[in-house]
Symmetry: D2
Subunit: 282 residues, 4 copies
Amino acid sequence: MVMPACDIPIPKKIKLAVRSYESQKTIIKLNGIEIGGDQVVIMAGPCSVESREQVLEAAIVVKEAGAQILRGGAFKPRTLPYSFQGLGEEGLKLLAEARDETGLPIVTEVMDPSEVELVETYADILQIGTRNMQNFPLLKSVGRADKPVMLKRGMSATINEWLGCAEYILAEGNLDVIMCERGIRTFEQITRNTVDISAAPILHMISHLPVIIDPSHGTGTRSLVGPLAKAGIAAGADGIMVEVHPHPDEALCDGAQSLSPEEFKFFMNDIKPIIGAVNRRL
Amino acid sequence: MVMPACDIPIPKKIKLAVRSYESQKTIIKLNGIEIGGDQVVIMAGPCSVESREQVLEAAIVVKEAGAQILRGGAFKPRTLPYSFQGLGEEGLKLLAEARDETGLPIVTEVMDPSEVELVETYADILQIGTRNMQNFPLLKSVGRADKPVMLKRGMSATINEWLGCAEYILAEGNLDVIMCERGIRTFEQITRNTVDISAAPILHMISHLPVIIDPSHGTGTRSLVGPLAKAGIAAGADGIMVEVHPHPDEALCDGAQSLSPEEFKFFMNDIKPIIGAVNRRL
Amino acid sequence: MVMPACDIPIPKKIKLAVRSYESQKTIIKLNGIEIGGDQVVIMAGPCSVESREQVLEAAIVVKEAGAQILRGGAFKPRTLPYSFQGLGEEGLKLLAEARDETGLPIVTEVMDPSEVELVETYADILQIGTRNMQNFPLLKSVGRADKPVMLKRGMSATINEWLGCAEYILAEGNLDVIMCERGIRTFEQITRNTVDISAAPILHMISHLPVIIDPSHGTGTRSLVGPLAKAGIAAGADGIMVEVHPHPDEALCDGAQSLSPEEFKFFMNDIKPIIGAVNRRL
Amino acid sequence: MVMPACDIPIPKKIKLAVRSYESQKTIIKLNGIEIGGDQVVIMAGPCSVESREQVLEAAIVVKEAGAQILRGGAFKPRTLPYSFQGLGEEGLKLLAEARDETGLPIVTEVMDPSEVELVETYADILQIGTRNMQNFPLLKSVGRADKPVMLKRGMSATINEWLGCAEYILAEGNLDVIMCERGIRTFEQITRNTVDISAAPILHMISHLPVIIDPSHGTGTRSLVGPLAKAGIAAGADGIMVEVHPHPDEALCDGAQSLSPEEFKFFMNDIKPIIGAVNRRL
């Protein structure tokens, strides 16, 4: 009885992000949480910070249900300039307040190299969004920051290209990079994107970096968030990022994929047996 | 604590394959096995039947490791006319002999409407391959057969188109249709295809038909078969189809994605905790 | 001043469909028309044969506007079993009548290996549809027919896979194969498919077979048929297949992409300067 | 004889980039050149500026062959941090010197919002690369610049998303936006990308902005640059961007798709009849 040997080629020109550089998995320690270790880390919260009440309510809800990290967007990349663009620094302050209230570390997106310094004064993890995966000045900028970086996969990026982007961050000296699979673009119409679950085991074989799955953006569909989260955990993901909104029907963005507080409690309960089955813990 | 309600629209023009026609899941009973019920059904065996020794050895191996159904191709769709095209009827006879030896029912592909009658005298489940998903004369032909049909998703088919193909079979009177997700084509290069795990929960929400995941063709990579199988089971798949070859390095086709007997034993052991975690059984 | 040398690798395992087998372009002669020669051949007509009046009216219209071949479907592959499936042999007879009336040769689809003999008694060119590109029994069957075969590219087929399918036909002895690019599936939503114009020059470099572009299925949009036809001709296509319906708004299928008689006249006029610019003729 | 009416829906939430805002085509005047008018504008030059000799030689070659604009990268977005990243400001100075020498205006990429001011002191057109299509801070920044912007389509962007990005620039007050189709990602392996020729007629129907086709990046294959350029012009493109290198085999990037000087002369000669056929001029 043997496990199949790794048969995926390690990209040759990548030096730091690959297993040949670091055979042990990278574990990112944050406030008692270990991303990439035994834990399955749940990052939950609203798509965007909309108001003090909304973000505090969301933070308390996700904390009580067992999430370890609070997510929330202050700078929002939107398809059109006329859509809500986020509260900016005001949103960062509200996130920090929610952290003070709940003790949950914060992950939030940064979009502009010149704003990295500002965002890292508030955030615990800097998120690079899918549209900015190959925004190299931004990657270099967060590579010089003192906070871990969560790098989302580009909508049509290959895994090797994505690792090349992690390399940009690592090469600047920031070794705390988390990879986040958030779905790739296909012809399928029911889902907003197609979650490439194979990204988790592939990255674990050829890289030492932790991998998070985001089934909210990956499917765009509330009822699919749970099943895809379970799939990701079963395939070895180190965590799940999930959108939770106190009142999804009133959300300024991504309401259709956000779980309500009651749905998020169900979600947390639903994933527990799978977490146990892969010998991990929340 | 509530589960999110189904928010995926049921395709309006499909009558028989959808939940509005049949709210209970279809369970296909076969030789004491229930596909679509509590069991997670494992269909295992070689890509193609190559010889009496090979198929018997494979059948015994997969039976002993706990598989419930034997897979093997007698008619093989190959990219080029010069590749091994399968043993034809001789292959069907060898499969039947393996069934006699082990008691495992057989699933095998049929490619030509005029051969359906021949194949169903040997096979327990008729497989429609990905290249023939929209081969409508073939679908009508198996729709008139007395054996269950496993319908693989086309390489670039949407889920609604795939259900439309199931409808062709159901409309001819054959109600025993199994859907098999085998990966879709994307730009990713590491994997042969991208397994769309969301197909399982989506189909379970909008259709009553059982769903099988095929991580062997879905990834084309031996070391990914286990992780993707676990992902599929966690997301609710009713079974897994997996290629096993007594000697993968000598396989006439798909050796790179076939598990060895020892690897298959590991696989069967590896998926058990996930099966338990979703309250199902082998 | 030099033309760039061919830098596209010829697929090694393909023997007959490639330039290394036949350095001269294949020219298929049919009723005074030369497909693959100096002419740009226009195949026009309705998606499906609906009635005697419709097909005769369409045939006269396209003939008068300058088309050289009449297209029309008698056996229609449809996404659902409840859609109009074509008139079958009755449709073939009406096509033959339209040929008698106008002198235009007929191209029509065959879907079932057992119907090839029937279809070739009526048709001048046998069409293999996109859904059947890798229907190998069907390819072998038309490979034994006495009529030229037009092989549509599969919706997500690579060019090398498509050539492999041509090889199936050639290997059975039928050397008159026409390749038809009809659009591939992408994430773009405005068009039904994305016409891969590069297919024409690529095939001309690595193969000797004629290439037709089908902008009607390729775009699914009436106003794009002309621009994409001109693009195809400019890139070296040997012909264009275009849907024309006497009354598009009443069409039983594909009305949205069918040109009206007046629009088809405009189309024929519009492509002429491009045909001249590449030193070809209608 | 009538042209089919526009049957492509104008995206409702886009205000400035659409035909309903401006029914006349936008014409961008630059140094006697009119982009979006009768001319077909050729932008040619090396992928990246490598040295004084290289860029001057390239500029003279493309000028003599008839190109109207010089392209060349000073800031290069590369998949890995270890690849040549461009000469930076030194590269901009060399481009300006080449402009002084030849009179050709310069188009060059800007990647960082904080560098827009620097780049526009040298460049005549600011290019936004495919990886930065949805880099919204960058779009806003060039939207406040005084130079025209050429916006490349993202590798997997829909046309409506791409127009949304143009809207970001227009909304900041910069009305001189040029759209550049550079190929989208598909499963096809022979070409680096698939040029979506339909983008040109679609944009012309629903938007007033000029459209350029880039067959060099679109195909990644030297021998396909000419055929795809001709296709683009035939479909109505307002110009072509093409990579030309004095010595393609020594190029620091994209040598495989760069034309040599002799090949570029052939190219310019080859496209002339098509330009005439669509009633335009160089």
